[in-house]
Subunit: 142 residues, 4 copies
């Protein structure tokens, strides 16, 4: 199962080339990821209160076509790798029907007190299974 | 008549004080303003194509309470002053039912070729009348 | 005495009008304010560690001319009002010799535990006196 | 030869985890890249005026340690791949002596009128040779 998130490209997100700045796709991907976690019944705010953080350890995004101000942006995302220490989430970002960007983010589970890597409790990991769709790593490019 | 616009506070919009950074309210106000113009039947993209720009000449925002990551943000806005050379738009920004911020932006109509101030054609000005609500300058604070 | 801070306008700070987005001037003003506090022998990080926060309660900025990518930005700032509960800081922002923007931010001293307004200790307030220049409220516009 | 660029981590660049948000490293990398091009005797503004754009086609960044507000950030960068249609630039980003992030961006040369991929004129490509250091792809991680 994948998750879908929508937003509208903002004026402040454009640059002087007349398109959305490439860094903005990371912000949209993050908003989609947080919304997906919300849908798991596990908001990020609660996650941090429970002493677990999910910092980003790696990002890779490929840009295929530009998006523009006022475009309706759709982000599809899914968990593509998971174990009890780390996660990978993949993204497909479209403006209307135009495929603009695909990519992934990698995360570790981190204890928010000690700020060190931790094993994730099974009950937390189970929530991520709902969106565990390893084949999306490939299909996101289509 | 006033216009209502909604968005969700993003993680990237927080700062180390644990709240939404004060500059973000300008971005949300802009998104609400553009959405209001869209509702007038006059998208900003078309406005710029037609050779008219609406740069910001002044902003004033008062911060009354913080907003937080994942808050549902509602921006209410209306045109409070207008003549054939300039506009003022007022904003009330709430997180759920909590009044967080009120403010205004002032704009001039600018010719996008010459980049100088221009008189706005009557048919364009008429579209803004739909949201012309001068009393909102006061009521936005309540 | 006023404080001077310099930075270079970044590509990501431009918008599709080809100029620096109006919200960016708040970010530059903040960077200048923090640098001024650093110069007082009082870094913001220390301030927050000591349990004092300085949230923004009001901003007002007037835009006089655009600034562009790669412009050398100079922010001049000073404390223009201060008492034991609040501060006002004024800004003049130039791109080279061109006056682009003037404005102010208002702040309260806040206890970072209780998140309520507090009286500022005299020894902290004394540090701000170094840059207390009330006449800059007017001279910044010249 | 590599290029060095410095900046200070801004308050607005922090997030509620108390660290610099991961998307900001792309902005710093871009600022370093533009500064490097400036040093080649070829400002980006001129590049765009001459009808050549350098859009980002891919980014990959690995996060090794956090950076914090007021950290002195140093970005070292170099051209690691180049031919007459595309470029790769690698980055090492440190906060003081702490290695925080390494990564790369890929670019194509694009005709700004037609917005299609183009061959780069030899005299332009020659300017990039000054910073052509393919071994930096590996050494940036040390």
């Amino acid at each position: 199962m994948t998750h879908e998130f929508s937003t509208i490209a903002r004026y402040a997100e454009t640059d002087m080339m007349g398109v959305i700045h490439h860094s903005v796709y990371l912000i949209w991907a993050e908003a989609a990821r947080m919304d997906m976690m919300d849908n798991m019944g596990y908001t990020y705010t609660e996650t941090e209160k429970s002493g677990i953080m999910l910092p980003v350890t790696e990002v890779k995004f490929s840009y295929k076509a530009p998006s523009f101000f006022e475009d309706k942006i759709r982000v599809e995302c899914a968990v593509t790798h998971m174990d009890n220490r780390r996660l990978r989430i993949d993204y497909q970002i479209k403006a209307g029907d135009r495929l603009c960007c695909t990519g992934y983010t990698k995360h570790i589970f981190m204890n928010s007190e000690s700020r060190t890597s931790m094993r994730i409790p099974t009950e937390v990991l189970d929530k991520f299974r709902k969106y565990f769709t390893p084949e999306f790593e490939q299909t996101k490019n289509k």
